[in-house]
Symmetry: C2
Subunit: 329 residues, 2 copies
Amino acid sequence: MNISPLPRGLLATVVLLSLIVPTYAADPLPSWNEGKAKQAIVEFVGKVTRAGTPDFVPAAERIATFDNDGTLWAEQPLYFQGLFMVDRVKDLAPEHLDWKSREPFASLLKGDLKGAMSGGERAVVEMAMTTHAGMTSEEFEKMVKDWIANARHPVTKRLYTEMVYQPMLELLAYLRTNGFKTFIVSGGGIEFMRPWTEKVYGIPPEQVVGSSIKTKFEMRDGKPVLVRLPEINFVDDKAGKPIGIQQHIGRRPIAAFGNSDGDLQMLQWTAAGAGPRFCLFVHHTDAMREWAYDRESAIGRLDKGLDEARAKGWTVVSMKDDWNTIYPK
Amino acid sequence: MNISPLPRGLLATVVLLSLIVPTYAADPLPSWNEGKAKQAIVEFVGKVTRAGTPDFVPAAERIATFDNDGTLWAEQPLYFQGLFMVDRVKDLAPEHLDWKSREPFASLLKGDLKGAMSGGERAVVEMAMTTHAGMTSEEFEKMVKDWIANARHPVTKRLYTEMVYQPMLELLAYLRTNGFKTFIVSGGGIEFMRPWTEKVYGIPPEQVVGSSIKTKFEMRDGKPVLVRLPEINFVDDKAGKPIGIQQHIGRRPIAAFGNSDGDLQMLQWTAAGAGPRFCLFVHHTDAMREWAYDRESAIGRLDKGLDEARAKGWTVVSMKDDWNTIYPK
């Protein structure tokens, strides 16, 4: 087979041109309405990718971090990991007959989520540890994979992965096309997200930062395992987010995306670096197609963040006005 | 400018061919002598990259983890981070006049390293925390950058980055050329490595896993900083290595490279996965060009690991026999 039908020099030229000539493709953000938010994103990406200009940022430093709950997928009426916990408690109940008369499990099994939560942090931690610890990391991964493939949201009846935001999927892809490395930085459990983020968001496990519990390495029948322990290791929320970013990524993002006060420190940390920076809050304003909540919400409260975004000129996306589509079709 | 002098179909064909036709370049591992170790590496890489065969591993799963001290660079007569600590104590001494009469600093300042270390773990931790904590992450990064650019090794008088192993640099590049993602998984401090690993090894900060101290997010004059606290966060050594790998990478490596018993659990964890696996120990056998040590050494002891490598058929590199070059020229 003659694999090179062209003279060597011409071949090289063609290959080179194919790498450097920009392609004017269709709108990469079709689910975003024309407006200030979309414009700000496109301008920022254009600015940092234009070689030879003062605002140019080398590809290796184009780090973008995304909160997950409420930013990449929905988070109402409860963080989805909370709903996973509820489902797990029900699954485990037959092996724990005492739960019928023991709080917080008794309330939860009766479908009384509020009652179960009324025990406060202690009750939530007990339920979380019962459902998230005591197994190996591989066993937990399998549980999450099974759940994410089959469980359905109590309100929409959709699979949870069908409740990711289409405009954010487009934004992730758009940033990656422009040389960005996209990370999740979430208060959610790191091992709860990793089994599905690559397939759903195109974000591989090593680019997921989250909360974690401690694990222990041990040999079982000559085979090494990591056992999940009922002890908090790291809480990747609020002031924990810049810490998690530094710990996992080791460089400051140039763009950060969140939706709640839990993301404020991540945006502050991002904004405080030198050179061009981009900070964005998704504001849940769409009671018809999704949920509308901000300053008073127990889940995903956006209060201080909204004030700071306005004071500093960060981008605030109104889901109602800026997005023509919410979920993937 | 006519940027596309060829018909569109032909252009596409040429571009495609340029991507899929293998190039038979010069030997990618010229510092490796022909022998069992080199052969095992090349065979493994060939096996996992051959599409359509049972041993093929998709690029996203081609994770390779490398210990640093004694595997990618030298570690005698003391881990280089220990020598950094010594240099820092000397730099800081003028601000701490009491150190002249206070152990372990007094011995260290007299050049008596053994005396300083005789206080055991407590003394080492005190020196480590004094030199590694109390500043912001940015200030620490600057200290490391200054030191790595200027400090010289007490025996060879080389810069420390001139004491990396040329054969391992070639191996890192060879793996990356074949679609592997290369990570450092070291007992050394994560923030001690990140300021220079990208330049020296081609490994970016987000692919460095290491030991760490705790940090605190705070606002100083309206500017967010991360302050390094004198408290251990994570020790990425021995059984800590699989834990660090799971925490940071979230998938099991298919290839792991170490040189001491501190790497044994990382190699066990790697070997225990399904499909083709590659485990390698660098054995320090070259007293003339580097150092010769193994079962009895306080630094970089290789004892149980050597036995397990032989029992399991892992690759053991003899630096004396397998490498024709040690340091970059």
